[in-house]
Amino acid sequence: MTAAAVELVDVTRIYHRPRTSVRTAAAPVVALDRVSLTIAAGSRFGIVGESGSGKTTLLRLLAGLDQPTSGNVRVAGHDLAGRSARRLRELRQDLQMVFQDPYGSLDPRMRVRNLITEPIWDAPSTERAARLRELLDAVGLGPESGDRYPHQFSGGQRQRICIARALAPRPKLLLADEPVSALDVSVRAQVLNLLADVVQANGLTLVLVSHDLSVVRRVCDTVAVLHHGELVELGPVEQIYDAPQHPYTRRLVAAVPTLAGALAGIDAQQLAATAASAGADPTDDPAERRDWEG
């Protein structure tokens, strides 16, 4: 917890949309609006927000897959702005991603063995084979899995393959974009346990994006809440969960149905009413209007 693994200074990202009218240009979308934050090395950092809040944009900027309109993104002391694709690739050795959809992010024609060792293709073959065994073991897949194809695995197993692949080049920073939202509850628990294990065992810095506050709370120690591209709240996860300050965070926490709450008699009507009154913000319902502005 000494050095900063990631620093964002005043980062803004504006997307211009294609015009839909002859007379007026489409309004630009401010996906991130002057966001500044620091992620300490070795920390487990969560980013929470609803669709359209800018959380995926933020992750893409961290991975160097996108450039900010203004502001600076520094990863491990290196400024990402204005780097060539080749220099970015070098920096990405230390930075790996796990995506939301374990079906779409693995090439269906490659064997798992090649999928996992693809990031370290330039290592000697004996080293690659040794690393493969190590990684399959670390994510709880049998050694025979290497010869199979992605379609032969279930969603949870595929997410394990994605995690193994991400770990292959021994990254320092792991970026996970909604890694469990496509999974069933029982498998979700397995993958969350695995993520916590590999982060611990490899001393990684984890940045986890989720719309589900309870997932972030489970895995992370610090959380940032994004709303409309703005950073509205930042702090230790327990504090934000137990005593949210910003009205939007309050609404987010109140809208999550809990088993204990429901068994105590909170029905759908009460849940909606509580969520609405927790962070009364009658002027906007952006997630609902995002694509709908005539």
């Binding site: 669709s51 279930s154 029982s186 309870s214 987010l252 759908a268 997630a287 694509d291």
Partner: protein
């Protein structure tokens, strides 16, 4: 609407939906076996289980929408009416809509992308009014104004504007509201919802759940709600069926089943889904392994390959213990006497 009146209300209180021995097969594979359910009018029942447990297939069988090569057997009746399993395709058109209506998981693929959403709601109305009223300008105008009412009932802002939009112009939450408006258009006796809020933001989910429950309540519709989220289930439903391997393994009132589960599968789902229960950084309990592919479930107890308590006895199919309303099928149940209190799953 008038459509509901076409089925004469039985004088005795009969089940809105009665399912007996529902089986779904694909060639030699048995995908669903022996599902029984009585859904009282206005009752809200949840169907829960992991993907691959047979939840969606059950709903599709009830609607007569099984894919090619997949067949259903058994008895499915609405208010003691004809058995829907034997219903010819022509007759189904009168059942889907006023009898059974469904909100699908993925609204983008369930809505027609080339049609304005208002027209899609109107279509549902006109199709079922056509028996009682000539479709002319009068019928069309009435359907249009009813469409705006339905869209505003699901609390879409500016219904007239939304009615003119195409599905791709709406957000996921808005699309799902339109789906709900279509499903409710003909005042269905039974509303089926298949993971209606999966993939939606939590605040949108809370609003939609409220709309589903209140929409069904206003019409006296029974609700069969499919989900894998136990907290959503407990928020919406009063009774639950836990499915695994195409079978109902446990059923009962939500509060009883989720407080003192008897089947080990139910207990496993509960433990692994409740992220808040273990406040410290202890490892989450999990159900080992994953759901087998269809047709690869073991014989005997379908859950035995993933169950920590499985023994030799589990190679034979466990008998049903308890009543049809509250019972389970397990050789090694937790708390068999039902003496335990809430949350005590080892």
């Amino acid at each position: 609407m008038t459509a509901a009146a076409s089925t004469p209300a039985a004088p005795v209180v009969s089940a809105a939906l009665r399912i007996r021995g529902l089986r779904v097969t694909a060639g030699p594979l048995e995908l669903i076996s022996g599902v029984d359910l009585d859904l009282a009018p206005g009752e809200r029942v949840g169907l829960i289980g992991e993907s691959g447990s047979g939840k969606t297939l059950t709903a599709l069988a009830l609607l007569g929408l099984l894919p090619e090569g997949v067949h259903s057997q058994g008895e499915v009746r609405l208010h003691g009416g004809a058995n829907l399993i034997d219903l010819p395709e022509r007759a189904w058109a009168q059942v889907r809509g006023p009898g059974l209506a469904m909100v699908f998981q993925e609204p983008m693929s369930a809505l027609n992308p080339t049609m304005r959403v208002g027209r899609q709601v109107e279509e549902a109305l006109l199709l079922h009014d056509s028996g009682t009223r000539r479709v002319g300008d009068g019928g069309r105008a009435a359907a249009q104004s009813r469409t705006l009412e339905l869209l505003s009932d699901v609390r879409l802002p500016d219904p007239a504007e939304i009615a003119r939009a195409y599905p791709h112009q709406l957000s996921g939450g808005q699309r799902q509201r339109v789906m709900l408006a279509i499903a409710l258009a003909n005042d269905p006796q039974v509303l089926l919802c298949d993971e209606p809020t999966t993939g939606l933001d939590v605040t949108v989910q809370a609003q939609l759940l409220d709309l589903i429950v209140s929409g069904a309540a206003q019409r006296g519709s029974s609700l069969l709600f499919i989900t894998h989220d136990l907290a959503v289930l407990a928020t919406v439903c009063s009774r639950v069926l836990v499915m695994y391997g195409g079978r109902v393994v446990e059923t009962g009132p939500v509060s009883a089943v989720l407080r003192t589960p008897h089947h080990r599968y139910t207990a496993g789902l509960l433990d692994s889904s409740d992220l808040d229960r273990f406040r410290d950084r202890a490892r989450l309990p999990t159900i080992p392994g994953s759901v087998p592919a269809a047709g690869e479930f073991p014989d005997g107890c379908v859950f035995r390959t993933r169950c920590a308590a499985a023994t030799e006895a589990c190679h034979t199919e466990p008998p049903w213990t308890g009543t049809q309303q509250h019972g389970y099928a397990c050789w090694h149940p937790l708390d068999p006497a039902g003496s335990g209190d809430e949350g005590s799953t080892p």
